[in-house]
């Protein structure tokens, strides 16, 4: 036992030493201190209306730790603060579990439900139950075709096929001949639609490459391998912002001349656009999807307003290039773009 205790003491001593060193070994650049300085003057929100404090629940098909859904949430929370709404968020990437979460929200008798229809069939019954319980439903992100049929008020999101087509057009405009579409989740319908859409309008040749999205080195080496095996590829399109930077690394590793383009934005993508390592990004404005969903539910509860006239309200695609990158970088840094 004595030996164990000296071991503990040794570890403790090392910890103290490291913590001490951390105070001495400060970094004079970057880090939290720089961020604090940046947002020193940012004000926190407060309710702009005095409607009753309604509760809205948002249930998405997001996996754990998805940057995109984080931005959607940020938008929804901002609108919730403004509209005096209590906002609840839950998610599960398996349709059955997601449907159960919707059921749970109905049981909680929330005043409004925001839901994604990534796997529409599995969600149909849940949405019908919400309607039966008299809870208004707004669908976001995916399910633009099913939304109305299922009885939702409005759909807010980007049509993935249209977004893909925009990519194809943009690639044509940039004179690209052979493109690679990098899918980081095999079997995701939205991803397939994006690449399909791009293929439809792209005049050159486009091929799909599936990579393991949860394993960045695998993403990098797979793209690198493909670029090495086909030197004619002059454009790589990634379907998520975190993969764009990895694709840039792969391109450097393969000594390829391909242009890297991506769906979705984040801080690094904005920086990449600014520095020219990325060609363009297709933004579907996730912040807007969350913000509008909460706001439209509030408008419905308060004023029986419905936007879109039964048609989906599109939040994208917005093509972002070097021109807008500087401005968007700041917004991406604070997690709203």
């Amino acid at each position: 036992m004595a030996r164990v205790r000296t071991g503990v003491r040794a570890v403790g001593a090392v910890l103290v030493a490291v913590l001490g060193a951390s105070l001495v070994g400060c970094s004079s650049t970057g880090g939290k201190r720089a961020e604090d300085a940046r947002k020193a003057a940012q004000a926190s929100g407060r309710a702009a209306v005095d409607t009753p404090r309604w509760t809205f629940a948002m249930i998405t098909h997001s996996g754990d730790g998805d940057t995109f859904w984080d931005i959607v949430q940020n938008g929804a929370k901002q609108a919730a603060v403004k509209d005096n709404i209590k906002f609840l968020y839950s998610h599960h990437d398996e349709a059955q579990q997601q449907a159960q979460l919707v059921d749970a929200a109905i049981d909680k008798k929330v005043d409004g439900i925001i839901v994604t229809l990534a796997k529409p069939d599995a969600m149909k019954a849940a949405v019908a139950r919400a309607r039966k319980a008299g809870i208004p439903v707004v669908t976001v992100n995916s399910g633009s075709e099913e939304s109305k049929e299922f009885g939702a008020l409005t759909h807010i999101g980007q049509d993935e096929t249209i977004a893909g087509e925009a990519v194809g057009d943009e690639l044509n405009e940039r004179g690209r001949k052979k493109a690679l579409c990098v899918l980081h989740e095999q079997g995701n319908v939205g991803h397939e639609q994006r690449c399909e859409g791009a293929k439809k309008t792209f005049k050159g040749e486009m091929k799909n490459l599936y990579v393991e999205g949860t394993n960045m080195p695998d993403v990098q080496s797979s793209i690198e391998a493909r670029l090495q095996s086909d030197k004619d590829i002059d454009a790589v399109v990634t379907l998520g912002a975190p993969f764009a930077d990895t694709a840039v690394k792969a391109k450097e590793g393969a000594n390829s001349k391909a242009e890297i383009d991506t769906f979705d934005l984040n801080e690094k993508v904005a920086g990449g656009l600014k520095s020219g390592s990325l060609g363009f990004a297709v933004d579907q404005q996730p912040y807007l999807q969350g913000y509008e969903a909460v706001d439209l539910l509030w408008l419905y509860k308060y004023n029986a307003d419905v936007l879109g006239g039964g048609k989906p309200v599109l939040t994208g695609p917005q093509i972002v290039t070097k021109d807008q990158a500087g401005e968007l970088e700041d917004y991406a840094k604070r997690g709203t773009r």
Partner: protein, 352 residues
């Protein structure tokens, strides 16, 4: 009846089998990694024929990089398996390690190396936790590390969100110490115009150290003894608990190296990453000739297993096969490699 009794002893020319000298060839055939080496050669030749660009120097560097990121973890995981235990938390532990370095440096506005040091301690502590939990309680390592796996997955997300406000870490590339740390964990070494990633060096170093431990030290004997028969090992005085805790710390060290590579290569860490990779490490170790039941295997074998994995996953890309079937091809290749491995091992044992 004859009065000659049967000789009570074996004929003198049949000496004690432990003292028999075996020919070098037979020794080679008895090595656990032999099957995987044959498998690796087969996979290599296959893709060299099928995919035109597979043999380019740059392609080989890419394949080695893919193999090294698996291999850095497969080697300590193999040692653990030889010791008779599993670690299902190995995949997310890599992410945890990267997150700790990044967030500590960022939040404290500290020199990046301080975060790297803290993360080493914290990651080793997770290894100790796994080991102590296993040796002090009853459940098998499968359950205990499954628990750690789930807890780490949740903590990765929870803490990152709590501390950074988003699910990925903030960029630390503009902080002091970043470039020197990047040199150590994520630089490239150019040899004859070809860029090799430094993870390959880490990988080879880990294979060398692990092989030395296994074959040349007392701890190596302990590992084989613990994996071969825990009770017997305990009875002859092998420090079973200490050995197992040490093995989990080895896995934690590998996770730390991989995690730092992840951080300094990509600068920002996604907190949801790493899930599922633990199986890849175990698969690489098994292909490399480690027995799932413990007591048999080698570090070199695990490294070759990682190489097979790297060659297969990238070879499919070089061959430009229809991506819809990607996973199928991968699975079939792995199965074939493992079967070949098992076949060679059986042949080797039969000739003993």
């Amino acid at each position: 009846m004859s009065a000659t009794a049967p000789a009570p002893h074996k004929p003198a020319q049949e000496a004690d089998e432990r003292l028999l000298t075996t020919s070098p060839l037979k020794k080679l055939l008895g090595r656990p990694e032999l099957g995987s080496v044959v498998g690796a050669v087969a996979v290599f030749l296959f893709f060299a024929i099928v995919a035109d660009s597979f043999l380019q120097a740059n392609s080989i560097a890419t394949v080695l990089y893919a193999a090294s990121t698996i291999g850095i973890m497969a080697v300590p995981v193999a040692l653990l398996m030889i010791g008779g235990e599993f670690d299902l938390s190995a995949g997310v532990m890599v992410t945890t390690s990267a997150l700790i370095s990044s967030m500590f440096s960022y939040q404290m506005t500290a020199n990046v190396w301080v975060g790297v040091g803290v993360s080493l301690l914290a990651t080793l502590a997770i290894g100790v936790f796994n080991g102590v939990m296993l040796t002090r309680t009853d459940p098998p390592s499968f359950i205990i590390t499954l628990g750690t796996f789930l807890m780490l997955t949740g903590m990765n997300l929870g803490f990152t969100k709590l501390i950074s406000g988003t699910v990925s870490t903030k960029s630390i590339s503009d902080m002091e110490g970043f470039s020197s740390a990047k040199d150590v964990f994520a630089s490239t070494i150019t040899v004859g115009g070809v860029d090799f990633k430094i993870t390959i060096v880490w990988w080879l170093a880990m294979v060398a150290v692990a092989t030395w431990i296994l074959l040349r030290t007392r701890a190596g004997n302990w590992i084989f003894a613990v994996g071969g028969g825990e009770q017997a090992a305990r009875a002859v005085g092998v420090p079973v608990s200490k050995t197992k805790i040490g093995l989990y710390m080895g896995v934690a060290f590998g996770a730390w190296v991989s995690g730092q590579h992840l951080l300094f290569n990509y600068d920002v860490v996604q907190s949801g990453e790493g899930v599922g990779n633990e199986l890849i490490y175990i698969i690489a170790a098994v292909i490399g000739g480690c027995l799932i039941t413990g007591g048999y295997g080698s570090a070199v074998g695990a490294a070759v297993g990682a190489l097979i994995f790297g060659m297969t996953s990238k070879g499919i890309v070089y061959a430009e096969w229809n991506p819809d079937w990607f996973k199928f091809f991968l699975g079939a290749m792995l199965l074939l490699a493992t079967l070949l491995n098992a076949w060679v091992r059986k042949r080797a044992e039969a000739t003993k």
